[in-house]
């Protein structure tokens, strides 16, 4: 594998100062920036090269590493992976001495340009970078850059635990009843989105916080990631009201069923309909308890609250003359019995 000469990319000599490098970079960036050349793939590619070259050459440490290693970066990488601890320069010296040709000789010698050439064709597979924001998912940096310098933040700063992050999730009462799985997309420091699946247990309440350990912001320098807290908000339901683990719902019941008793069918959150016996003399607003038909308990889902069915008496309307007479007769008898009726 060969690499680009970053100095040539920026059009600066190898002795250029960082100020000259920055100046050259900005001049080129203004010409080729994707925001200035929307839809121009060639400009985008060129800008990637320029940015990559700048990333390496503007940082004195990276530049030194680049100057020292030349084409031996892969060997050095394998060496580090195998547990080697030598510095890049020691490594370069050792390998070039073994091969019978020094890096300096190579640079000056026949056809050996440590910085020239092509890169791997799968550029998109290189490590991500915040240039994702401008270029989308395709990484602007070649494998060379990413494999040598790796996680720039992680290698240059002190280890520190990542921050905690909060995710707000809105659920229906049905989802809270059954439990569900929600997908959360969180972006890591390099700008790469990752999807996390958070399992929401049955019986979750409005305002519940579910902790997903180690799923928050990434830590620095190998430190642990922060936690992700999923904060659940449960949407109000048009039919059911929640009180702790109990549910309440209204059922419209005709006057005669309330007076004489009967059976009505009540929908539940499970999606089924339960037959509920209405006892005689049921009053308006009276609640009938259906044991175990409420929300599952968050920590013990095998237990569940109760469902209270509140009776809403529906009076007949549009009575004809005969019916009104019958009702009046009933009212007379009701008063005659000395029982207390409603206001008339």
């Amino acid at each position: 594998m060969e690499f680009r000469d970053y100095y040539a990319v920026l059009g600066v000599p190898k002795t250029a100062s960082s100020k000259e490098i920055r100046s050259a970079y900005r001049k080129l960036a203004r010409q080729h920036h994707p925001d200035v050349n929307p839809g121009n793939k060639e400009a985008e590619e060129r800008f990637k090269e320029i940015s990559e070259a700048y990333e390496v050459l503007y940082d004195p440490e990276k530049r030194k590493l680049y100057d020292t290693l030349g084409p031996q970066w892969r060997e050095y990488e394998r060496y580090r992976e195998a547990g080697g601890t030598a510095s890049p320069s020691e490594f370069a010296q050792a390998t070039t001495a073994g091969a019978g040709a020094g890096a300096g000789a190579g640079r000056g010698g026949q056809g050996f340009d440590p910085f020239a050439g092509a890169r791997r064709s799968t550029r998109g597979a290189a490590s991500p970078d915040d240039l994702h924001d401008i270029f989308g998912q395709e990484s602007p940096y070649s494998d060379f850059f990413s494999s040598i310098f790796g996680d720039v933040q992680g290698t240059t700063r002190r280890a520190r635990r990542g921050g905690d992050v909060e995710a707000q999730v809105e659920l229906s009462l049905e989802d809270a009843f059954r439990g569900t799985t929600v997908q959360l997309q969180i972006t890591d420091p390099t700008g790469t989105p990752r999807t996390i699946e958070a399992r929401i247990p049955p019986g979750v309440r409005d305002g519940s916080r579910i902790r997903l350990a180690g799923q928050g912001a990434a830590g620095r320098g190998g430190a642990a990631a922060g936690d992700l807290f999923v904060v659940v908000s449960v949407r109000p339901h048009p039919r059911f009201r929640r009180e702790g683990d109990d549910l309440r719902t209204d059922a419209s019941v005709d006057m005669f069923t309330c007076l004489l008793g009967g059976v009505i069918r009540v929908p539940t959150l499970k999606g089924t309909r339960l037959e509920v016996r209405i006892p005689p003399d049921t009053q308006n607003g009276q609640a009938i308890r259906l044991k175990g038909q409420g929300m599952p308990h968050l920590r013990h889902p095998e237990r569940a609250g109760d469902l209270y069915v509140e009776v809403r008496v529906v009076l007949p309307t549009g009575l004809n003359a005969e019916e009104r007479e019958l009702v009046a007769e009933l009212a007379d008898r009701y008063e005659h019995h000395g029982e207390k009726g409603g206001a008339r």
Binding site: R26, D35, L131, T187, G191
Partner: protein, 91 residues
């Protein structure tokens, strides 16, 4: 899909940006945190979209050497381009 919210200290940590710089962006109207605060009278938090915006601002500032005034112009234009693209997609 849930809405991810970041407190300001997490944003500065993730993006490796000084808090004072983030304040400057906010004062210049370049970014306004759009997430609900943690407490009723607390500071608004940042969404993923806000983070993407800050990354873009940082990149533009570094790549083109834009100052805050330049950033305001470019970001406004980019917002308009984004909005037009959304409209085209919708049609």
């Amino acid at each position: 899909m849930g809405l991810i919210l970041y407190r300001v200290e997490v944003v500065t940590d993730i993006l490796d940006i000084p808090r004072v710089q983030l304040r400057r962006y906010e004062q210049a109207g370049l970014v306004v945190p759009s997430g609900a605060p943690e407490k009723p009278r607390g500071r608004a938090r940042y969404t993923e979209e806000d983070l993407r915006r800050i990354r873009r601002i940082r990149r533009l500032q570094r790549d083109l050497g834009l100052n805050l005034a330049g950033l305001q112009v470019v970001m406004r234009l980019l917002d308009q381009v984004d909005e037009l693209q959304r409209r085209v997609v919708r049609q």
